[in-house]
């Protein structure tokens, strides 16, 4: 993190509902996470394929600690980091797709992670597109998916981040999954 105070300030603004700050924050955190993810995932031998996501979580925790964010800021940060994770993974999935189309096989650092994620949703790019459609009428469900799927948070944690009761988070999660499944089948 090049400048913790700047990030903290931005987080505070995000917390206060300033969307412009979120746009500014995104690239900062994105780079950080991408570097972390690539370094950690790139170095691991095959037997450790499951480690990366766990380490990315660690990285987030560490960042939050570094920031010393307030509980509110901490929640905000997780919501935010989930979005970042989505972007990171989808970008990689997209690049991978382009490589394949071009007949190249480039081993990208995040390839293992993408493969892992695509175990439970056959195409991250399609999921991303479906999420974009969902966002048009139910932003909350998109947030839930980002937290539960991309960030790998438990239902309890996701409920805490979104500040909703656990029960309603679980319901929303079921709805999101059903709708996305339908939406991706239709395409």
């Amino acid at each position: 993190m090049p400048d913790p105070t700047r990030t903290t300030r931005l987080l505070q603004r995000v917390e206060a509902g300033d969307d412009a700050a979120a746009d500014e924050l995104l690239p900062l955190v994105y780079d950080e996470l991408r570097q972390l993810a690539e370094r950690q995932m790139g170095n691991e031998p095959a037997a450790h394929t499951l480690q990366p996501t766990a380490l990315v979580h660690e990285a987030w925790l560490r960042m939050v600690d570094d920031l010393g964010a307030s509980p509110g800021g901490r929640r905000q940060f997780f919501a935010f980091a989930a979005r970042v994770m989505r972007n990171v993974l989808v970008d990689h999935a997209r690049a991978r797709r382009a490589d394949k189309r071009g007949g190249k096989h480039v081993r990208r650092p995040l390839e293992q992670a993408v493969v892992l994620y695509e175990d439970s949703v056959h195409d991250l790019v399609e999921l991303d597109e479906a999420l974009a459609r969902l966002a048009e009428f139910d932003e909350q469900l998109v947030r839930i998916v980002e937290l539960r799927f991309f960030a790998g948070l438990s239902a309890r944690e996701a409920a805490e981040v979104l500040d909703v009761p656990l029960r309603s988070l679980e319901r929303g999660w079921a709805t999101a999954r059903a709708w996305l499944r339908g939406s991706m089948i239709e395409r």
């Binding site: 993190m1 090049p2 037997a47 480690q51 380490l55 991309f150 948070l153 499944r181």
Partner: protein, 918 residues
């Protein structure tokens, strides 16, 4: 899917999920009331709703996947690696455990078969080595590892009875171990619970477990996965540890298993923070000490250290790393506080604060069992007193005074050295010293950078014959040359000039990226040397952006800038960014220059500094050593770079408390630094100061004083009078002289500090401290006349009305006690009164401060032989207003003070008044 009526669809779908599938039709009939489209969409969602893998985050799904994947189940009666399978004992994320019969020698064993890990050549070699280590563990408390190996797929082809993987081949295979079969045993916690074992017997079992762990440690094996389920007790109450070192053998610790084991809580409840962080290079015997502490916790109160039920991985990591674990007595109130302390000490987050070994932990538990004082917890007079009373309930009153008198020797004097960890102003002084050194370094680097810039512009001219680039470079060099910090001594001016240079750069060099990059990098380094890290980082980043890596001419410039950026980030605390930079530079330099080039080696040395900042001390040491060997070869033994790395290596040893090595290295390098860098070079002086502190540490006060004297003289030459670093030298030296019995010299040095500082900050805490120290020195020197003058001067300072920091009053309060002991009652009480008034004015709400001031007053009066009952009452009232949690600490300190001065009556009276009532 239409989304026009989404809110209704979502609401109804979620309501339908809440009812039984059979009741859903009725619900839809009632709620849709003819809205066909609504009904169709809800029904479609219900159809799509399934509890399956879809959108499960990888950890969760991968975990389930692994657990359900058939791991080459071995049939009963079948043959595997020379073992006959007798039955399945259990299976988990790591693999399965079978009861099996070994043919040669014939015996029944527990055969642990791991999941196919497709081990690499390296992994197999390591596996074999570790297995040999494990097989050497022979201890009645450790289930023995009989054999281990890697079986090729299909289980065919390997000879039977292969000991220690002798037949293992490279490539894919299934690792396995044959372990001593422990039958009819229970996990220690269950054994204690089920058998109604009393606490003392449970502690005896625990000690036996510690002994077994220690045996492993003595043989270089760390268990890594101690938990109740691995600490078994058989029906004859014998402890058997299972899976010793197996986690390591299976290359399976830390986060890897987070995603594999089904039972997160069982495994992570006892795992140390450093293991959870995946910092496998930092995992040592103390991780087992932590786990033993967690087992003890559960043994004592039945609850795990952390309640991790229902927690995700993220939560587990956070809790274990950041939350204070519960104390056994919080769960089960009957547990005595000594056991709380023992557990707390064993599970400290910082390994350095835990018991250093399992045997130390066991020894403390044994002390408790023998009703002796334990080492954990606050070793305080009050505790010792209580422990003493516990052992000798009879006749305790008669001996209390004796004990108190004995304790007197434990308490140190009120004279302090200036040490970073001890006083805030010393910390500030350190910071200022660092700044000062940067400034000095800046002078040097200014000159070096001039050379660089000139050389760069020469090169540019040769290449391009560009008159303008030469002119611009000249201009910037002129700018940089204009201030001379040695003369001006004000870094502000340097900064201003740098800002001007930056403006110039922005304006005039846009179309000359090569030169602009060099100059930005130069500016970055200069800012770094001035301690302006943010600006340094920005400049270096700009330089990087201007020098594409693919341009051969600019590659060196690029790498140099990136290396500097790594150093800046490291010192700014951005260790992650620093690591990326330094590793990238290292890799590039290795490729382009080779591993034996001095620049590659210098990068290694910077990386070592990073490792040190990351706490990876062992690695830091190795890197320094590697860098040193190359630098010596290339540059000769006395080059500045070599000497600096050697000094850094010694400082690392000092930080690792390897005092002998640090001292040896410093003894060797300091003379060469003196000779080749100069006696007043900041690096020389820092190394000397480190050596001085080492000498003091090992009791060589004479030598410490001699060296510190040299540091002080060096600083006197290069620093202005009144500089904090110089004052710190003088103050520390004065205390050393006092300890050496050179009272007059001590008085002289201390007076110099006071005189210098008093001119501009007569009431600064450090001045108060030195004035207090001076009274001790004068007393020791027997100079009563001057002592009298100094005390009057101290009292004349109007402490109560002008002092800004109440903390400095602590010095006065402590001194008042000594002044009373010197028989100067009037002055002592005047000092304590100044403390009371000062606290009341400066921090009226600070109860602890009031307590301290009143305590000093009480002590002084007690020493003078006054009746202190009223004072004891006052103090007791203040204590009552403070949180109960602080009482024990306050009592301990107070009783220690009484003990020191033999104030038996006050001690007993305090116990009766305050402590007894609780």
């Amino acid at each position: 899917m239409s989304v026009g009526n989404w809110e209704h669809v979502r609401e109804l779908f979620e309501s339908a999920l809440d009812v039984e599938p059979a009741a859903r039709t009725a619900l839809l009939d009632r709620r849709c009331s003819g809205d066909v489209e609504l009904r169709r969409e809800v029904e479609r969602l219900l159809e799509l709703h399934r509890d399956d893998e879809f959108l499960h985050a990888p950890e969760a799904s991968a975990r389930r996947d692994l657990l359900s994947a058939p791991l080459a189940r071995l049939d009963v009666g079948s043959d595997f690696a020379g073992f006959e399978i007798l039955g399945l004992l259990g299976s988990g994320g790591m693999g399965a455990v079978y009861e099996a019969r070994q043919r040669e020698p014939s015996r029944r064993v527990a055969l642990k078969v791991l999941r196919d890990a497709a081990p690499s050549e390296q992994a197999v070699a390591r596996f074999r080595w570790e297995a040999e280590l494990l097989a050497r563990l022979r201890h009645p408390g450790i289930a023995q590892v009989y054999a281990a190996g890697v079986e090729r797929e299909g289980g065919a082809g390997l000879g039977g009875g292969v000991e220690l993987g002798g037949g293992a081949e490279l490539g894919g295979g299934v690792p396995w171990f044959a372990l001593e079969l422990v039958e009819g045993a229970l996990p220690i916690t269950e054994f204690v619970r089920a058998g109604g074992v009393d606490r003392d017997a449970a502690l005896a079992l625990f000690c036996a477990a510690c002994d077994a762990v220690q045996h492993g440690h003595n043989h270089g094996v760390i268990h890594r996965d101690l938990k109740p389920a691995n600490v078994l007790v058989d029906d004859e109450a014998r402890v058997k540890l299972i899976d010793f070192g197996v986690a390591q053998l299976a290359n399976d610790d830390g986060l890897t298993r987070l995603t594999r084991a089904g039972d997160l809580v069982g495994t992570f409840g006892t795992m140390s923070p450093e293991q959870l962080e995946g910092a496998s290079d930092q995992v040592d015997a103390r991780a087992d000490v932590y786990a033993l502490g967690a087992v003890l916790h559960e043994l004592l109160c039945g609850a795990p250290l952390h309640d991790l039920r229902g927690c995700s991985l993220t939560e587990i990591a956070r809790r274990v790393r950041h939350e204070r674990p519960s104390r056994p007595s919080e769960v089960r109130p009957g547990v005595s506080e000594e056991l709380d302390w023992i557990v707390t000490r064993a599970v400290e987050h910082d390994p350095a604060r835990r018991y250093a070994s399992a045997s130390e932990l066991a020894a403390d538990v044994r002390r408790f069992r023998a009703r002796e004082p334990v080492l954990a917890g606050p070793v305080s007079s009050a505790y010792l007193l209580r422990s003493f009373v516990r052992r000798h309930r009879a006749g305790v009153v008669a001996t209390t005074a004796v004990l108190l008198a004995l304790l007197g020797g434990l308490v140190s004097t009120t004279v302090w050295m200036w040490r970073a960890e001890e006083s805030a102003q010393a910390a500030r002084a350190q910071a200022e010293l660092a700044e000062e050194q940067r400034l000095l370094a800046a002078q040097q680097s200014l000159r070096a950078e001039e050379q660089r810039v000139i050389a760069e512009s020469e090169r540019a001219r040769a290449e391009r014959e560009s008159a303008s680039s030469r002119a611009v470079a000249d201009f910037v060099v002129g700018l940089i040359r204009s201030p001379d910090p040695a003369l001006d001594g004000k870094e502000v001016r340097v900064v201003d000039v740098l800002a001007r240079a930056d403006e110039q750069l922005e304006r005039s060099l846009v179309d000359q990226p090569g030169i602009a990059a060099t100059l930005h990098a130069t500016l970055g380094r200069l800012h770094y040397n001035l301690g302006l890290l943010d600006e340094a980082e920005a400049q270096l980043a700009t330089a990087l952006a201007l020098t594409p890596l693919d341009d051969a001419a600019q590659r060196n410039e690029h790498l140099a800038a990136r290396a500097s950026l790594g150093v800046v980030r490291r010192d700014a605390g951005d260790l992650i960014g620093a690591e990326a930079d330094l590793l990238a530079v290292l890799a590039a330099r290795r490729t382009q220059l080779g591993a034996d080039h001095e620049d590659t080696a210098s990068t290694l040395a910077e990386l070592a500094g990073l490792r040190r900042a990351q706490g990876r001390m062992g690695e830091a040491g190795e890197l320094y050593v590697a860098a040193l060997s190359v630098l010596r070869d290339r540059l000769g033994p006395d080059h500045e770079r070599v000497l600096r790395v050697e000094a850094n290596l010694a400082a690392l040893d000092l930080a690792r408390r390897r005092h002998v090595e640090a001292a040896e290295r410093l003894t060797e390098v300091v003379p060469r630094m003196r000779e080749h860098l100069g006696r007043r070079h900041p690096a020389t002086l820092t190394a000397l100061a480190n050596l001085a502190s080492l000498r003091v540490f090992t009791g060589q006060l004479d030598e410490g004083a001699r060296l510190l004297d040299e540091v002080m003289r060096g600083h006197r030459e290069i620093l202005p009078a009144g500089h904090p670093s110089l004052l710190a030298d003088l103050s520390n030296l004065s205390v050393l002289r006092l300890q050496l019995g050179e009272f007059d010299e001590a008085v002289r040095l201390c007076s110099e500090v006071i005189a210098t500082r008093s001119a501009d900050a007569p009431l600064a805490p450090d001045v108060i401290l030195m004035r207090c120290n001076l009274t001790h020195m004068l007393h020791a020197a027997g100079n009563e006349t001057r002592l009298d003058q100094e005390l009057e001067a101290l009292l004349a300072l109007d402490l109560a009305n002008t002092l800004e920091q109440p903390g400095a009053l602590a010095y006065v309060e402590n001194t008042s006690r000594d002044v009373a002991l010197w028989g100067r009652g009037e002055q002592a009480l005047a000092l304590t009164q100044a403390g009371i008034d000062g606290r009341a004015r400066l921090a009226p709400d600070d109860l602890e401060g009031r307590f301290a001031a009143r305590r000093a007053h009480l002590l002084a009066r007690a020493i003078l032989g006054d009746d202190v009952d009223a004072e004891l009452d006052t103090l007791c009232e203040i204590r009552a207003q403070l949180p109960t949690s602080q009482h024990a600490g306050l009592d301990d300190a107070l009783l220690a003070s009484f003990a020191k001065d033999g104030l038996t009556h006050a001690a007993l009276s305090w116990r009766d008044r305050c402590i007894a009532g609780e």
